[in-house]
């Protein structure tokens, strides 16, 4: 499963997850794009779904551990969210790879699939992340979604309901953007690189 090009793809996507925060900071965007590398890794490794799940999770996990050590020590708590995103990306979002690379770009189907996969990824991510947000952060993570949590709590919701509802509003928007970016990067990836990731000539390193 772990050929040298695949190891490089995992490392690239982990590094992308880590570095993209730097890009977001540099161009001052009001969003978080912390899973683009994870989604992209799954797309790159398809049609080998097992490899796509495993490699995407490893890429996401290394990304959150390195970010956890150097920038945000609370990110590794979301390891299960990374696993969920890897699973959804490999098993669902991967079904759109044909559309994502089609030339010329079929704008309608492309947009519809990005939104559909993004919303599903967001819903799954919100449900898996909610226990961490509630227990570790007490419902408030420092992002704008905390104001939504506050609104729901203020209007009589329990913390669990408020956090989950807030996640279900914010996460699909964020994840749709991430799926869009991953699809665009996948579309831009040279054929040579995709060919290197196929399990053919390269010897396994394990």
């Amino acid at each position: 499963m772990f050929t040298t090009p695949r190891l490089v793809a995992i490392a690239l996507c982990a590094a992308l997850n880590f570095s993209i925060g730097n890009i977001v900071y540099l161009i001052k965007l009001p969003i978080y794009l912390d899973s683009v590398g994870t989604i992209l890794c799954a797309l790159l490794l398809l049609p080998d779904r097992t490899a796509a799940v495993v490699c995407a999770f490893i890429a996401g996990f290394i990304g959150i551990v390195l970010t956890g050590l150097l920038i945000n020590p609370f990110l590794p708590w979301f390891a299960f969210s990374v696993l969920a995103i890897a699973l959804v990306s490999a098993l669902l979002t991967g079904r759109g790879t044909g559309t994502f690379r089609a030339r010329p770009l079929p704008a309608g189907p492309f947009a519809a699939k990005v939104v559909f996969y993004g919303v599903i990824t967001g819903i799954v991510s919100a449900v898996v992340s909610a226990p961490v947000v509630i227990y570790l952060f007490g419902g408030v993570t420092g992002s704008g979604s905390a104001l939504v949590v506050a609104y729901f709590v203020k209007t009589g919701n329990f913390l669990w309901d408020a956090t989950l509802r807030s996640g279900l509003i914010i996460e699909p928007i964020d994840k749709t953007l991430q799926v869009l970016l991953a699809a665009l990067l996948y579309r831009a990836t040279p054929k040579d690189f995709l060919a290197m990731l196929r399990p053919t000539a390269q010897p396994s390193v394990t």
Partner: protein, 240 residues
């Protein structure tokens, strides 16, 4: 102390911070983390500063939400009683202290090995060779990506496609920067994987370098710290 021992100790302390449900038990965990941090000498000041810088904005924001906007603690809201700002403040203090303990112990653990380069640190870890290689490759590619970001950003600013400051143009064209960076690093990766590394036998050299330093087994000091951490974890559980 070995890197593996320090990591296990850190995980145990983090476990203690997570299960601690009140300020006294959290204070015990935090005191242990501080004593451990003293082992990194003057770097403890750096670890404290970093942890405060990470947690302070979060604490401020939590204070704004729970004390300012909601005006009560979640427990009170769950019980259907009228909330008080004092209870909300105590709740914010507990969560903030827990987050501070986690942030600090992560820093204190790794600052003990601040004299090592990342490669030296990874070499001394007891973990599968494949995992070590992945971490080393990722660290190397992070450097490559950061350089690519610098170059691409400068080029796109010079071309008037993005700006240095926040702007609608950045929102519209920001993804071009991401795409440019991705294409740059993928091209570099193709070149390295297909031509450079096989010619220079880079991966074999990495394997040799990582295997060269035989990871040390846990030392008596490691075990002692772990026992103390387990004690604080048990105490935190017992005080629930």
């Amino acid at each position: 102390m070995t890197p593996n021992g320090a990591i296990v100790f850190g995980l145990l302390v983090i476990g203690g911070a997570v299960v601690a449900r009140d300020l006294p038990s959290l204070a015990i965990v935090l005191a242990l983390a501080l004593i451990f941090g003293l082992g990194s000498g003057r770097r403890i000041v750096m670890a404290l500063g970093w942890s405060i810088a990470i947690v302070a904005p979060l604490a401020g924001f939590m204070g704004l939400v729970w004390v300012g906007i909601v005006g009560g603690a979640p427990d009170e809201i769950g019980a259907g009683t009228e909330g008080s700002r004092a209870a909300a403040a105590a709740y914010v203090a507990l969560i903030s202290l827990r987050l501070f303990a986690i942030a600090f112990v992560v820093q204190a653990t790794f600052l003990r090995f601040a004299d090592m380069t990342p490669l030296q640190f990874v070499r001394r870890l007891s973990m599968p060779a494949l995992a070590k290689k992945l971490v080393v490759l990722t660290l190397s590619l992070i450097e490559t990506i950061l350089y690519a970001i610098d170059r691409a950003r400068t080029a796109l600013i010079a071309a008037g496609i993005v700006t240095r400051r926040p702007s609608p143009r950045n929102l519209r064209n920001g993804w071009l920067l991401v795409q440019t960076v991705w294409l740059t690093v993928v091209t570099i990766a193709i070149g390295r994987t297909r031509d450079k590394w096989p010619t220079e036998e880079t991966l074999a050299l990495i394997d040799g370098t990582l295997a060269d330093a035989t990871p040390r087994r846990l030392t008596a000091i490691d075990v002692a710290w772990m026992v103390v951490a387990l004690g604080s974890l048990a105490l935190a559980v017992g005080m629930r």
